[in-house]
């Protein structure tokens, strides 16, 4: 008003300014700890981390699945519009008991009741990981990543849907095969899977011709990475144990 129009004033609305403002709005506060003013080293720019520290979260929110997703997977369920575009394009949605977008809705409420429903759903096991959803999501919500974390959480809490037993068994058999032989040995793996699930006759149609076509070998594939990979699995397991006493 009283000031002349100067070039310096243009920086008031320089292209990056509103971004910071949006951020402040999003995180629910525009206050900055006074420390930022006095401490020289912190400078003038506000890093997200610093922001988080001055944003007071309720204690219950801190332990929610939503918080965990944000922490380990950088997936912020609050970003989701509930527009359903992910569900609309999901190849597995038809089979799912809870639509992918609804999984996120269940996490948005941060209520234990809803979180339980997400962890016990079949959907987390039916997600193929095809990444169609995140390729189209207007808010870039990494749903497949959320599904990964939910699956692992569901296994850790031992609440995985029983109807998914066979899928879990398949994944376990597969990883087991890698752990033992460094590579996947189909015959052994499928055998393991069948033992774990009792689906002894499934796929009987295809198997004989697979042998005939030379597609399935009876002996484990070569390769000397066997022991090394076994050790990797062991170290990963040890690290996991350490982190959750």
């Amino acid at each position: 008003m009283g000031q002349p129009d100067t070039v310096t004033q243009m920086h008031d609305t320089a292209p990056d300014a509103p971004r910071v403002r949006c951020f402040a709005v999003k995180k629910g506060t525009n206050r900055r700890p006074i420390g930022a003013y006095f401490s020289q080293s912190e400078g003038r720019t506000l890093t997200p981390e610093k922001y988080m520290s001055c944003h007071h979260e309720s204690p219950s929110a801190r332990h929610s699945l939503a918080a965990r997703l944000k922490e380990v997977g950088e997936v912020d369920v609050a970003d989701c519009y509930q527009c359903g575009k992910c569900t609309a394009g999901c190849p597995a949605a038809e089979e799912m008991d809870v639509a992918p977008s609804q999984i996120l809705r269940l996490l948005q409420t941060e209520s234990p009741k809803h979180e339980k429903r997400a962890l016990e759903s079949m959907s987390i096991w039916l997600c193929i990981g095809c990444e169609t959803c995140v390729t189209r999501c207007p808010q870039e919500v990494d749903l497949p990543r959320a599904m990964d974390i939910l699956r692992q959480e569901s296994l850790a809490r031992n609440v995985a849907n029983r109807a998914a037993d066979d899928i879990v068994a398949f994944h376990k058999a597969f990883l087991h095969s890698i752990e033992r032989s460094g590579r996947v040995f189909e015959f052994g793996m499928i055998g393991d899977y069948k033992l774990r699930t009792g689906h002894l006759f499934q796929d009987l149609g295809a198997a004989p011709s697979m042998f005939l076509k030379g597609k399935m070998s009876l002996l484990p594939h070569g390769g000397g990475s066997k022991r090394e990979v076994g050790r990797m699995f062991a170290r990963a397991r040890a690290a996991k144990k350490e982190s959750q006493p």
Partner: protein
């Protein structure tokens, strides 16, 4: 020309013909494939599904071995392996905490995971040498085919390098390069059911039949893929697919390297064409010669 080569488990088993055709084509193009020594499985979707740490550590180990063998680039024909290797590398490059964790699992000194080799899929790789390929074409691939890219080559677009996520054209260009024609269709990147091949065959049947339906409706003589999972879903699961089709179809599913191999005049045997469940019978030349040029 020498390039690192990571066949991955499928190419040593269920998709042996992909491996055979890659190697034969490479030989014909005078490319030396240096297999990553003592490679291990990339972890595929199971690791990705239930063990995040291993889903990064396993590919990291492969790339570390390639790096130690002095390979700057690793050709990874299998789309699933390619995706895992690329994603693993991306995670390591963008997240320092993940990198440290993986270094511990691998038991390698810090810094070992710097500058891992570049991961190339077979389409990217061949697209780099169009002149070499064109020069060696002996019998043009005069067929109209549908190029099917699937999920893992193109998604997520932030990490993969395809610029048209929903309508990629790189494979179509390769087919055109060896004299073929490709159809413009709607299912290039729709999911086929991928890793549910064994545990949820019905899902695969439903999804793959839609893909088959669109390709046949638009008169494709074959489907061309670059992923062993797509191949086995569309080929091995054909009975499941045909059960859901208005009209059962017997159009074959070829790997892109088999298409190129045929144009280079390589034998059916060397390209592993006999290993398919749906027999590879392509109609006699359908294109008038001038269209090809």
């Amino acid at each position: 020309m020498r390039v690192g080569y990571y066949p991955g488990c499928s190419l040593t088993g269920t998709s042996r013909e992909f491996d055979e055709s890659v190697r034969s084509v490479a030989r014909a193009l005078e490319i030396d494939l240096a297999e990553v020594p003592e490679w291990n499985c990339c972890g595929s979707s199971p690791a990705h599904m239930i063990d995040t740490t291993m889903s990064i550590a396993l590919p990291a180990n492969v790339l570390l071995k390639a790096k130690r063998a002095g390979l700057a680039e690793v050709l990874t024909p299998c789309a699933a392996c390619y995706s895992r290797l690329l994603m693993g590398k991306h995670e390591i490059e963008t997240k320092p905490a993940t990198r440290a964790q993986v270094e511990r699992v691998l038991g390698c000194p810090p810094g070992s995971l710097d500058e891992l080799p570049k991961v190339l899929n077979v389409i990217e790789f061949l697209a780099q040498i169009p002149e070499t390929i064109a020069a060696k074409v002996t019998s043009k691939f005069e067929h109209t085919v549908a190029c099917y890219y699937g999920c893992l080559l193109v998604r997520p677009p932030k990490v993969t390098r395809f610029d048209r996520t929903e309508d990629p054209v790189e494979m179509d260009k390769l087919v055109a390069l060896v004299g073929g024609k490709t159809i413009d269709w709607s299912f290039k990147t729709e999911c086929c059911g991928a890793s549910f091949s064994i545990s949820r065959t019905s899902v695969v049947g439903r999804l793959s039949s839609k893909i088959m339906q669109d390709a046949t409706r638009r008169h494709a003589e074959a489907i061309v893929v670059s992923c062993p999972m797509c191949h086995s879903n569309l080929d091995l699961r054909r009975r499941e697919i045909n059960r859901r089709m208005e009209k059962p179809t017997l159009i074959p599913v070829l790997f892109i390297t088999q298409v190129i191999g045929l144009a280079l005049g390589l034998s059916e045997k060397r390209l592993g064409l006999k290993r398919h469940f749906v027999p590879v019978k392509l109609p006699a030349k359908t294109l008038p010669a001038q269209v090809v040029s």
